[in-house]
């Protein structure tokens, strides 16, 4: 096997890995859904570059020697094997409670006030963590006060004595590298919950004054819960936008 053929093989495998990530839905652990088709397209092109003649695997074997003598080829390209192996062996999961530290954030609310709440479904208003945290922290009209809401997230340990745990969800913009954690302190749940367990909780916001604009790390808003139900990990695992208000 010539060097050129091995390179072709690695490119084909890399392309196949990207296609598999798209096919299995694993890509959503790493990028936002809008980017997933592009991961597929990128994988297909990389695979074709590895397969098609005159240089790829499917070429006549004499053609493999075409350019290898002339062109300077860096060794660094072999590192492309690393992400392939990491994906195959580790199959990295979506970011979980261990990644929260240093990533918690309060999304910026619009200046022009908030839209009315959605209609309750089965006795509670379903909302994203982004909406809950933003309304709790930024809405001067306190639209959440007294409203029973339904949130979905996973368990992350709390800090200090504030409560038993924090319900958490990551919001990503492009990929998991830019993830930020949205959290709510859960009060009133007696059952010990395992780290990273996904929960659907219903409860009411515990009001407090809106956060100061320049508070570097305000405590997350708190939720007095009425019911807690363990659920299967939600797919896709992240929330994708913090812009929802007017």
């Amino acid at each position: 096997m010539s060097d050129e053929q091995t390179r072709s093989l690695l490119l084909a495998v890399l392309g196949a890995t990207a296609v598999w990530l798209w096919w299995s839905g694993q890509a959503l652990n790493y990028v936002r859904p809008g980017l997933a088709p592009w991961v597929l397209a990128g994988g297909v092109v990389v695979g074709l570059l590895g397969l098609l003649p005159p240089l790829g695997l499917l070429s006549e074997h004499t053609a493999a020697g075409h350019t290898s003598g002339h062109q300077h080829r860096g060794r660094v390209g072999w590192l492309l094997l690393v992400p392939v192996l990491v994906v195959m062996l580790v199959q990295p999961a979506a970011l979980g409670s261990y990644a929260v530290s240093g990533r918690s954030a309060v999304p910026g609310g619009g200046d022009g006030g908030f839209d009315p709440l959605a209609a309750p479904v089965r006795g509670a208003v379903p909302m994203s963590m982004a909406e809950f945290v933003t309304r709790a922290e930024r809405d001067p009209a306190q639209s959440l006060a007294g409203v029973r809401v339904r949130l979905v997230g996973f368990v992350a340990p709390s800090e200090g004595k504030e409560g038993s745990y924090r319900l958490t969800r990551f919001v990503i913009f492009c990929c998991a590298a830019d993830a930020e954690a949205l959290q709510a302190v859960v009060r009133g749940d007696r059952t010990p919950r395992a780290r990273d367990q996904w929960l659907e909780v219903e409860g009411t916001w515990l009001p407090r004054p809106t956060a100061a604009e320049d508070d570097p790390s305000p405590t997350p808003p708190a939720l007095q819960v009425n019911s807690v139900r363990p659920v299967a990990p939600v797919r896709p695992p992240y929330e994708y936008s913090v812009q929802f208000s007017g």
């Binding site: 091995t6 652990n29 990389v46 240089l55 660094v76 392939v84 580790v90 261990y98 492009c174 320049d214």
Partner: protein, 336 residues
Amino acid sequence: MKSTLGPGQAAQEVTSREPRRRVDGRLVVLLVVVALYSRGTLTGSLNPVALRTWTTVFVAIVIQALPFLVLGVLISGAITALVSPTMLARLLPKSPALAVPSAALAGTALPGCECASVPIAGRLGARGVQPAAALTFMLAAPAVNPVVLVATAVAFPGRPEMVLARFCGSLLTSVTVGLLWWRVGDQRWVERARRRMSSAGDGPRWLAFSSAARHDLWDAGGWLVVGAAAAATLQVLVPRSLLLAVADHHVLSVLALGGLAVVLAICSEADAFVAASLREFSLTARLVFLVVGPAVDVKLIAMQAGMFGRQFAARFAPLTFSVAVVCAVLVGRVLL
């Protein structure tokens, strides 16, 4: 697997091993087969847990960059196959003083992020574009294209001046760096890329195209892996709370967000959203984040070291960083 290969180390490997030993293809096949067979065996067994976050962030950066990298190598392949040096020479102004600003404006037409522009800049240099103009294009394209500007507008609702400030800041940075490099920079580093790539482009067009695209995918992709590993490592090791401590200080906050942009290595299409969430910082400091990010970050430094050489990157990165910070602060003063 947990590659800790520094950019420097690897660059040395690339340049110094002649003749190079062949990597046995059977070894690669064996590794892949074994990996497929033991698929997922390491899931959940990674300790310390920081390593779990590391693998997710690392794979995320690589996967997210792949489509843009592919776009970049397809364009660089097309440049090689379809655009002859004489054609470029006719199209571009002769004097760098004119060619540099035109290159910056040409950057508005490439809807991608920074991973795409590095191989393209290398190819442009190889096809006879003046080095300063190619570098300017490389800096401008990921920052001033329509996709990035629209993303910025969405991330900063009600603040259109942020979009304008970002456009002006990045344009100013790329032109300034290009002109500085033309006056005082060493042109040899770009020559190096030209020499390495010159042999590609002979023969039939399809061969020229696929050979150039494969070459660039191979090199830039390898360096992307190095850069992604570095960025993931820094993300796991450097807590962001460290930065928040300096948010109130004018000078420190600007430098801190400039540094954050280098460390995080976020795609230029997403960085506006991160900047919008850094509410503790002044708008000017956040503008610095947006101007520095697409021009210089750990992933880019690795890719540039691969394309133009280690010594080039060692000079170009600090120069770009300083110019970007100064330009962003100046533009911020005027517009924000």
